[in-house]
Amino acid sequence: MAEHEFDSRLERMFATAPACNDADAFARKVEARLDRNWRVRTLGIGSAGAVGGLIAVTQVLHSGFGFRIQQASSVSTEAVGSAFQQVLTHSEALLPSGMGVGMFLVASAIMVVVAVAAATRIFDEV
């Protein structure tokens, strides 16, 4: 019994913090080290990102990517243009009398905006 009491007493004594006048200074040292580590990490990650980005851009430029993009863009522009022309031709036939092509485009744009808003809403809900 006395042994158990002594054990408890000893544990309490160990749990009691000894008087430290420099507790605040010690905490500030730890905070300074944390800040320093954080700055080094931020700098390291930023530098790595910048270097990686630079390498990626260099690789892309050296691979003739720009030329291929130009080619692809001219081909796709032609394709989109002809498709758009076809749509206009068909839509004129579908349009009610008195409704111009401009009106049709505005209505289409509004529908697209509404669809995007609905999709965003659904995404937020999920």
Partner: protein
């Protein structure tokens, strides 16, 4: 400036709340935890036998490691107990080369002479009367909350050796920390 910064510190929050904020990147909140519990950790390391400067270094490293692993602290036990375990393991790693920690030979080392009868001594003074192995084992088991088996594993020593160091250490402490400030033996004798 310093005063206004101090005012912004989350001094009213519980350790678990501070730890959660620290896990989200709050360095000031973690600093508050260090402010609260730094002395206990440093005190334990000193009681284990570390020099003051070494104890402070190890305690700093322990808190740095604790910040890195703060997400692992779930609040199941007290925050200081969690940090103390980290600090103890750091200190033991640092002293791994010191084979004298808990060898049987260490128990034969001379400890400081017992204080005069009637002298009131505190735990730190009483611990000075233990040899290094006894200090280490008693501190681990009573200061860091290790079981005998955990202490044996941490010290890479036989369980029986740890138990005998703890027992001898406790006997010395019991003698020195008599409730009325006198040695128990002296009371019994007279």
């Amino acid at each position: 400036m310093a005063t206004s910064e101090r005012k912004r510190l989350p001094t009213g929050l519980h350790d678990v709340e501070l730890a959660a904020l620290a896990a989200a990147g709050g360095r000031r909140e973690f600093g508050e935890l260090v402010r609260r519990h730094g002395a206990v950790v440093r005190g334990l390391l000193r009681r284990m036998g570390a020099e003051a400067a070494t104890a402070d270094d190890v305690a700093q490293d322990a808190f740095m490691q604790a910040y890195e692993r703060i997400a692992e602290f779930r609040g199941d036990g007290p925050f200081p107990a969690w940090v103390k375990r980290i600090a103890v393991r750091q200190y033991l790693r640092r002293r791994k080369s010191d084979a004298l920690l808990v060898s049987e030979d260490a128990s034969s080392e001379q400890s400081e002479a017992a204080p005069d009868v009637g002298a009131r001594i505190d735990l730190d003074e009483a611990m000075k009367g233990l040899n290094p192995a006894e200090r280490m084992c008693v501190s681990l088991c009573y200061g860091a909350g290790f079981s005998h088996a955990e202490a044996a594993e941490a010290l890479n020593a036989p369980l029986g050796t740890v138990k005998s160091h703890v027992k001898r250490g406790l006997d010395k402490l019991r003698e020195r920390l008599a409730p009325d400030g006198r040695q128990a033996g002296s009371v019994a004798n007279g």
